[in-house]
Symmetry: C2
Subunit: 451 residues, 2 copies
């Protein structure tokens, strides 16, 4: 990995007898930079020696005449017990050091920004297919967990995923949980929360933590959140809890990550690193990169003896439709005609659709109900609970037209849940009941509403 550096840079590194992962000091023009020696970035200046500094950022220091490289003895932060290759990839990865004394965690890499890099020709970012490269940049992981396997079922940007991909990931997680203490799934952020919700329903008898993690900026950018998110995910993988969680930045600073329930998280910013927020409730925990944890909500403890299986049956002929002033119910009519089996409607406010408007949704919803097609209503307000008993229009929607309240479920979670429920409960009454009942934390038990 060092050999890709320029001749002069490589000579200076060799002279210092430094290996990738060693702590080195680079002195240039009177200024000293200290950090872990990294492999050369695939792109960019070959004479820039890349080190990972203690603040988590990688910097490239261009080797010029007079630049001095020194190995810093006695401060290597990675305890090396043995070195091992990964199961995936032809080249053994020397960089990550296998520590059999640490809990075993499998990493399932599915693509996305966290395993992407900038293409400096086009200016765009695209996914890579070698997730090992990511780990090479986070040697600290070896201090926390024993990454026993890297599994790459596919590499996609998450906007290109669908329910088939969720099933593949669920199968991979289930398989890895047999031999590991936890699983970390790296994933694109665009639909990370949809996948987290899907895994929450698909993984049966889950007694260990499954941590989904992504990055808002690719790892080859100075400001990438990939490393800290991954380190926090490794910390979370060791906790005494079970279930599916998302681990991402809790603030725009690099202070801590938040661990949010797979069924209650939503991406709420295009670019900020703290885009993933836990709605209607507190996140489950704050997790710091150094391992400090602060629990903020109740959680189910770990039960390593449970045998997890993947129950991935899913009805994909479902749709999530948002209503708004002037919205056309013809789109729902079309999908009913195409054989769609269920609908989640993002209503307004407490759970409304245009009712007495010129384009009323009521006739179409009644039609669906007559065909035994469930119509679940959630709110586009994202926070708060649908309450079918407040307004006259709601009596028409819920009691005459047969819609079902999705309670305080997020629209995205309700959509995923409906696909799973339709594949498991065949009768309409059963589907309706399940959709209004909490299964895996997606619905908060009713309590006094704060007003």
């Amino acid at each position: 990995m060092l050999e890709n550096y320029s001749k002069e840079a490589l000579a200076a590194i060799k002279k210092a007898k430094a290996q990738v992962g060693d702590r080195i000091k680079i002195v240039k023009k009177g200024q000293a930079y200290e950090g872990l020696l990294m492999p050369r970035a695939e792109i960019g200046d070959a004479s820039a020696i890349v080190i990972k500094m203690d603040n988590g950022y990688n910097v490239g220091i261009k080797y010029e005449k007079g630049t001095r490289v020194e190995k810093v003895a006695g401060k290597t932060p990675i305890p090396v017990k043995e070195e091992a290759a990964f199961e995936v990839g032809k080249e053994p990865i020397k960089m990550i050091r296998f520590d059999s004394a640490k809990p075993k965690v499998a990493l399932i890499s599915t693509g996305g920004t966290i395993t992407s890099k900038v293409n400096y020709k086009t200016g765009g970012v695209s996914t890579i297919e070698k997730p090992e490269e990511l780990l090479m940049n986070v040697p600290e992981l070896a201090n926390i967990v024993n990454v026993s396997a890297i599994v790459t079922p596919f590499a996609k940007m998450s906007e290109d995923m669908d329910s088939k991909d969720w099933a593949v990931i669920a199968e991979a997680v289930s398989k890895e949980l047999v031999k590991n203490d936890a699983v970390i799934v790296t994933h694109g952020t665009d639909t990370l929360h949809y996948t987290a919700a899907a895994l929450s329903f698909m993984l049966k008898d889950l007694g260990k933590p499954v941590i989904l993690v992504g990055a808002q900026r690719s790892p080859d950018r100075g400001s990438s959140d990939a490393f800290m998110n991954l380190i926090c995910a490794a910390r979370a993988a060791l906790l005494d809890l079970s279930g599916v969680y998302i681990c991402m930045h809790g603030t725009t600073n690099d202070d801590y990550c938040i661990l949010t329930k797979g069924t209650r998280t939503r991406k709420l910013h295009t670019s900020r690193r703290d885009a993933f927020q836990h709605l209607s409730e507190d996140p489950v925990a704050k997790v710091w990169p150094d391992g400090k944890v602060e629990y903020l909500a109740e959680h189910t403890p770990r039960n390593n003896s449970m045998k997890t299986s993947a129950d991935t049956k899913f009805e994909s002929k479902i749709a999530l439709l948002k209503v708004y002033p002037g919205s056309d119910p013809a789109v729902m009519d079309l999908l009913i005609g195409k054989g769609y089996k269920g609908f989640v409607i993002e209503g307004t406010g407490l759970g409304h659709v245009p009712t007495k408007a010129k384009l009323s949704w009521i006739p179409t919803i009644k039609k669906a109900f007559k065909k035994n097609i469930p119509v679940v209503v959630v709110s586009q307000t994202l926070n708060g609970r649908v309450n079918p008993n407040v307004y006259s229009n709601q009596r028409i929607l819920f009691y005459e037209a047969g819609a079902t309240s999705g309670e305080d479920m997020l629209p995205e979670t309700a959509y995923v849940k409906l696909g799973w429920v339709l594949a498991h409960a065949k009768k309409l009454d059963e589907v309706k009941k399940w959709m209004s009942t909490n299964l895996v934390g997606e619905i908060t038990e009713r309590s006094e509403v704060k007003v």
Copy 2:
């Protein structure tokens, strides 16, 4: 209005020589209650004397033998200069007192919870058609503004409104602004933010404030936010600013309201009184019921000499479509076939649609582009800016398929704007340019993105 009280309650009120609006003290079982005497509630116990307490809440104190009613002299908070009837309604409303020394404000009532009441038979809430009833419960308004007219173009729950209603409201606002210093629009909360965005585009040369206000709980409930929101709206109507704003609770306490831009506000809770939030930026101001104001952002000052007109041309054949894993582009194909003239797509993350997924949206978007139909992409993350230049999939969407970035516009605002722009700019290039350009505060000028 007093005559509806029970014989015994009425006798006690008359004995105290108290009129509606007078400050009275009711002493019952050694406990004293002080507040402004209210008309009897239309529903409920006729022997309960209703007073508005200083905390803003109405309470009904059941008159029983031994209950004492006293008029509190010298503390009447309503300065009475003259009494006048309103323009609307057959019965002159004596309750609200006309003070010609105060700035003139017209109130346009359009329905919604703020003018609704509970039907205790069905348990549901429905809209009333006499907005004067609302004002009777807020005598404090007369201390702040001179409500010169109440206009009721229609009374609808806001989920039943469409672009035709926006045009009617815009015409009414424009007309009232000729003779008033400001206009307050009371409105249902479900689609309040859609209407606020519509008025922002439809009102031309707007030099005065137009304040939209609603309530999350109907005025006949003890916990209603209607009164404080209305009082704060009256305070906001007097400010030195122009433009379309929403005025609703800033917190779940009854401390202050926030004044948010009509183009940047979204309802983010089904039931909480602080459901309306200003996204991506700070609200324009905090407004306290006592008139205290704290500005949080820049705003355009008032210019009373501008002649406002309503430019309500609107292309209603447009749709707002949300993409998600498994979303079916057939709905967009259908609408293209039905002659739809433009689309706003709620993409994921930085502005993505399923691209290489089995159900790719790219062919349909290309088809729209070939037919000169604009496709504007915003983000379902609600916060942050679409950036078409980061990922490979985006190059396909924005550069090959011809989609337009909606920058950091809210999806709802982008939808409303597209309908207005399509009615005013006929060429596709012009539509695309306008949709990416700030017109009335809907797009934040590009700045360094916080990450």
